[in-house]
Symmetry: C2
Subunit: 418 residues, 2 copies
C-alpha cells in the first residue's frame, strides 16, 4: 500500500444501512434511543451486531466483561492486533449517534478490508465495550480489558451492586470473572475510535474532523456543608449557621475560579441536597455534588487542591463545618501523537478540514490508552447537543469520519508492513 491518492473508501450504502438498522433498536418517540446497559434494547442491539459480524464472516467472541469482539484475522497466529471500537449502550433517552456511530464505522473498516482482500500483517478488531455510559460503573468493559478496573470498583458501583450482578447473569456472564477480561498489552499496536464531538467546537470552527489531543480526567466529590437547624423566624440573620450560604458561595466561587485560572477545565455543581429542607428551618446540611475535569493529570490535581481549599474557605466564611468525600477519578489520557499525525494526513488526503481539540467527555479510548497508544477523531455535533434526542450529526460527516478512520488504518498498516 502506498500513501497518496491511492486509497480505499467505505461502502457508503452498507454503512448507512447498518447505522439506520441499529438506530431502530430501542428507538424513542422523539428519534433518539434508550439503551441503558443490559436493558432489553441494549441486549437486542448487541445480538444484532453479533449476527451482522458472523454473517459477514468475521470471527466473533464475547469476553468476561461482556465486550463483544469482532475480529478480522490476518492468518498469522503471532501477529499483533490493532483495536477499533466504541459502545452500543446509551444514557437514558439518549441519541442514536453516541457510541453507535463509532462501532458501525469500526465494523465498516473491517468489512472494507475484508472486501478488498488485502493481505494484512495484523489482526484488526471492532469492539463493542460494555457500559461506557455508566449505567453501572462507566467505561466498565474498556477498563476491565485495560486492567484499570479493580475488584473494589465492583463492590459498590454507582448503579448498584444488584443491578451489576443481575445484569451480568441475565446476559449469561459471571460477574465474578469480569477482571479476567484483562488482555496482554504487548499484543496491541494501538486503539482508534471515531465518535461524535458532543460539543460545538467543530461546528463553530467549520471543521470536518476533530483530532483529539487528550481526553479529560474527571474527579467527583460530595462536599457536605454543615450548619445548625434553627427556627427561621426567631434566629437573627447574624447568628445563623446556614449551610445554604456555604454551598451557594462555593457554587459561585468554583465557577469563577475555573473561568479565571483554569482554561480548558470545567466544574459542575449538578445537585444539592438540603436537610431538613423546610421553608421555616435554617438548613443544617447541604450536600453538594461536585464534578470537575482537566485535560492533564497535573492540572487536574492542581484544580482538585484549589477546589477543596475553596470549599473549606466557603465553609469557614459562614462558620460551617465542611466534610469532603471523594467519589472516584478517571485519569486524563494523552492521545498518541503518531496517531494524531496519521489522522491529519488521512484527513488532508480526503480534503477535510481538521481541528485539534481536547475531549471534555470520557471515552473508552481513555481506559485503553493505559495499555497501548490510542487515538480518537470527532465529527461535528449540531449545536453541540448530546445525551438527548436532540443529538444530531449529518450523515455526510459520519461518512467522512468513517473514511478518515479507514484511511488512517491504511496509512498505519502500510507503515507496519502490510
Amino acid at each position: 500500500l502506498i500513501l497518496g491518492f491511492d486509497f480505499m473508501i467505505i461502502n457508503e450504502k452498507r454503512f448507512v444501512s447498518n447505522f439506520e438498522n441499529l438506530a431502530q433498536i430501542g428507538k424513542t418517540l422523539d428519534g433518539g434511543v434508550h439503551r441503558p446497559t443490559f436493558s432489553v434494547a441494549h441486549q437486542e442491539a448487541r445480538v444484532w451486531f453479533k449476527n451482522v459480524c458472523i454473517q459477514s464472516g468475521l470471527e466473533f467472541r464475547i469476553d468476561n466483561a461482556g465486550n463483544h469482539i469482532a475480529r478480522l484475522n490476518c492468518g498469522l497466529p503471532n501477529a499483533p492486533t490493532l483495536l477499533l471500537g466504541s459502545h452500543l449502550d446509551s444514557v437514558p433517552n439518549g441519541g442514536k449517534f453516541d457510541g453507535a456511530l463509532g462501532l458501525i464505522a469500526a465494523l465498516e473498516v473491517l468489512l472494507s478490508f475484508k472486501d478488498a482482500a488485502i493481505p494484512l500483517s495484523v489482526h484488526v478488531e471492532a469492539i463493542d465495550f460494555t457500559d461506557e455510559e455508566g449505567t453501572l460503573i462507566g467505561l466498565l468493559g474498556s477498563s476491565a480489558m485495560g486492567g484499570a478496573l479493580k475488584a473494589e470498583d465492583l463492590l459498590n458501583p454507582r448503579g448498584g451492586r444488584d443491578n451489576l450482578v443481575n445484569g451480568f447473569h441475565n446476559s449469561g456472564l459471571n460477574p465474578e470473572k469480569i477482571l479476567n477480561a484483562k488482555r496482554n498489552q504487548t499484543s496491541f499496536i494501538g486503539y482508534l475510535e471515531l465518535h461524535i464531538e458532543q460539543g460545538p467546537i467543530l461546528q463553530n470552527n467549520h471543521a470536518d474532523i476533530g483530532i483529539v489531543s487528550s481526553i479529560v480526567g474527571i474527579c467527583s466529590y460530595h462536599i457536605n456543608f454543615i450548619g445548625r437547624a434553627d427556627h427561621a423566624g426567631t434566629t437573627s440573620m447574624d447568628s445563623r449557621y446556614d449551610a445554604a450560604q456555604g454551598a451557594s458561595a462555593f457554587t459561585l466561587e468554583s465557577r469563577k475560579l475555573v473561568l479565571q485560572s483554569y482554561p480548558y477545565c470545567v466544574v459542575n455543581i449538578g445537585q444539592m441536597e438540603f436537610t431538613p429542607g423546610a421553608f421555616n428551618i435554617i438548613p443544617e446540611l447541604v450536600v453538594v455534588s461536585l464534578e470537575f475535569r482537566a485535560p492533564e493529570e497535573k492540572i487536574l490535581k492542581h484544580l482538585e487542591v484549589a477546589l477543596l481549599e475553596l470549599a473549606l474557605e466557603c465553609g469557614a466564611k459562614y462558620n460551617l463545618g465542611v466534610e469532603i468525600s471523594s467519589l472516584g477519578e478517571h485519569s486524563p489520557a494523552i492521545m498518541s501523537s503518531d496517531f494524531q499525525n496519521a489522522f491529519e494526513i488521512a484527513s488532508k488526503a480526503l480534503d477535510l478540514k481538521t481541528l485539534r481539540l481536547a475531549s471534555g467527555a470520557g471515552h473508552d479510548a481513555q481506559a485503553i490508552s493505559k495499555i497501548c497508544p490510542a487515538g480518537m477523531i470527532f465529527v461535528p455535533s449540531i449545536n453541540g447537543s448530546s445525551h438527548s434526542s436532540k443529538e444530531y450529526t449529518k450523515m455526510s460527516d459520519c461518512i467522512n469520519g468513517a473514511n478518515v478512520l479507514l484511511h488512517t488504518l491504511h496509512i498505519l498498516l502500510g507503515r507496519n508492513g502490510s
Copy 2:
C-alpha cells in the same frame, strides 16, 4: 381590685402538676413531645385538658374548628369575653413548652380567679386552638375563629386535603363546617397569650419577661431558576445556562439585602431542588423555597418587592429564566399598646425585668388580633432552642410568666369594672 401589691398569685403546685402531667402525653425518648395535629397523642392531650376543665367546674365546649374552649362564666348573660389561649399540638418531635405552657397558664388563670371567688363582669375563656403548628394549615383554629380563614385555604392545605378531612372526621368534627367557627368580634375585650420566646434575646439580655410589640408577617414563595441541561464535560464554562448559579447568587444576595437594609426582618432559603440532579449534567432547573418575615405590613411588602426583583436580577445575570409562585402570606400583627402597658405594670409589680421585642415566630395571637386587641408575653428559651427536644425554659420562668398573665388580667378587669 386595687393596683399595687394587693395581687393574686397562681397555685404553683397545681400549675406545675398540670404542666408535667400534660408533658407525659406523647412524650419522646429525648424528653420532648410528638403531638402533630389529630395524632393519637394530640387527641389524648385534648381529652386530658377537657377532663381537667370539667372536673374543675369550668364550662367546656368544642367549636366547629375543633378549638377546645374552657369558660369561666361570670353569670351575666350579655357580658363581653376576655380570651386566653395557646395550643396543644406540636411540630414532629418538638418540645414540651411550645403551646402547652400557654394553655396551662391560661387554665391556671381561670382556676385562680375561680378559687378567689371574685365577682367578674366579663367571661374569661382558655382556648386550645386547633393546628397552630401547621401540620394541616397553620393557625387553623384561630384563623377560623377570627374569620381570616377562607374556603379556598381548605381545598389545598399544605398538609394535604385528605389528612385534613380524615383528621376532622376522626375527631367527630365536620370539615365542611370549619368556617362556622367564626365568632362575633363585638363580644371580645381582647386576647392574651403566654408563650416561650423560641429565640435567645431574653436570655442574652437577662430579661424575665418579653413583651411582644408585634408578630411578624410571613410570605412563602417558590422561585424557579430555569437554565439548560447540557453535558458538563463538553460545554465550556462561558456557554452554560446553569440554574445553580442563579439560585446560589440569590441565596447569598438575599441574605446580604436583609442584613444591610431590613433590620428586624429575616429571609430563609430552606430548600433547593435540582433537575436533573446528576454529577455530569448542568442543572436545567433549581426550585428555591423562599420564606421571609417582617414586623410590619409595609416593610413586608417592600421586602417582597425587593426580593422578587433580586430573583429576576440573579436569573438575568446568568441568562436564566425565572418563574415566581406565591405560596401564601400571614399578615404581621401589632400588639395592643394598652395590653403592652398592662404587662409592663404587672411585671414591675412582680419585680421582673421586661424587654419589648417583636416575635419572629407566628402565633394564634396574630390571627385573633384581626377581631380584637391582642397581647403576648414571652419567657426565656435557654439558648433560643425550639421545635426540638432541646427546647427548655426554667420552671421558675414559667411560673413568672403565669403570674404576670394572672396579674395583667387583674389590672385589666379592675379597669373594666369587676
